[in-house]
Subunit: 241 residues, 2 copies
């Protein structure tokens, strides 16, 4: 039987999907999963996704670097917000990070139950994730973090990009996968322009973080995957890359 | 302030949208809203959307023609299922119909609270609905019935088509509207081919109702709109068409 790939557009719809034996790829392009992959690619030892600010704050006492964001802004008392740029030049190499964000960490939490494996994906490691998934026998569910429960453009287009890369190895009967593959393929030559229309990109522009947006839409900067192991995210090098 | 248009992809997400003062356009292309518009355009006096089979069945005793469908198949003891073709040649002209379907009637029910008006839309009256909406001052929410809570291709593309027709008169900041407008516009020349990939089209093909699918994807066959008034759907001719 052909392996299958499907998309869930929001954590609010995840209960409609079977997670059993599937690899779930969680995506929150602006900016949680991009930041996580960037941190891991820059030597962060592990990232612990945390649901709420209070728990995350307390982890500072156990030696964690704490990263907290709500509605696009760094939370009070946190060392890091949600900018991937903070991790460049191996700024936190060797450190353990605890992180909580508006949408991304919720999606990770909801992806754990019954699934075979949870990955985090971003444009910055698109191809690495695709190559890893090709080596596996599991069906795949791409879980878009969305924005406060709603469909969002950047996560959905990432999902379309991943379906497009995997379409020769996986079947995609899911209507969301058909739609997003087509949307990605027809807008691929001008992806950044198309995505600059996204409501969350506009929201971030208001915070003067155009550089973050630009970084989040960079494709294939890193050759690692991000994978949940024993409740923490760690990196794994994809063979041959 | 510019009038706005947005899309909700599933009744499971409708609680995330403000309905107040909005005109909600409910769409269930395969086949509930197409059948409703076809019935109304063929002289049906009114259509009462009913949530469950049992209530609908009892309405036969009050003189209603009862239409009931679950999972694409006519329900036991019902005169009509969910085929628009049954209404051609004014087969039920002058009659009152009570109707319950898998997805469409749920979406209508969930669209009533606080909204200014509820319309039903389909490709068969796409332009009539657009022309009517242009004359109104309200913001618009297109509510896709989906398939058992999930995103579906045909309802979402209808939403994209409506956004495309209204894009000069309405703002569309909603990511779903941006995505579906672009998807519709790039696939417009071969809409039927593209939509034949949809999972529900395949589901219906298994029931040997290709003729229904073809009919549901016919654009602008009728020049009426379908509108909920006092809990029943009635037709209204759009001026000038």
């Amino acid at each position: 039987m052909t392996k299958k790939i499907e998309i869930c557009f929001s954590p609010e719809l995840i209960h409609l999907h079977q997670l059993e034996d599937k690899i779930v790829v969680v995506v929150d392009i602006f900016r949680a999963t991009t930041t996580m992959i960037t941190g891991l690619a820059n030597g962060v030892e592990s990232i612990t996704p945390v649901a709420d600010l209070e728990t995350c704050r307390m982890m500072a006492q156990s030696g964690y670097i704490i990263a907290g964001e709500r509605n696009g802004i760094i939370a009070e008392g946190f060392e890091l917000g949600n900018s991937p740029l903070a991790h460049l030049d191996s700024a936190y190499a060797g450190k353990k990070v605890a992180m909580t964000t508006t949408n991304g960490t919720v999606a990770i939490e909801k992806s754990k139950t019954n699934s075979s494996e949870v990955l985090i994906g971003a444009f910055v490691n698109l191809n690495a994730t695709a190559e890893y998934l090709k080596t596996k026998d599991n069906d795949i569910l791409i879980h878009c973090a969305g924005w406060k429960g709603k469909f969002n453009l950047e996560d959905s287009l990432y999902a379309g990009a991943l379906v497009s890369l995997l379409s020769e190895d996986f079947g995609y009967e899911c209507d969301g996968a058909i739609a997003m593959k087509a949307l990605y393929e027809s807008n691929k030559p001008y992806l950044k322009d198309f995505l600059s229309q996204a409501s969350h990109a506009k929201r971030l522009q208001n915070h003067n973080i155009e550089e973050d947006i630009d970084f989040c839409l960079t494709i294939d900067k890193y050759d690692i995957i991000g994978k949940l192991e024993n409740q923490v995210l760690v990196s794994q090098k994809v063979g041959g890359n």
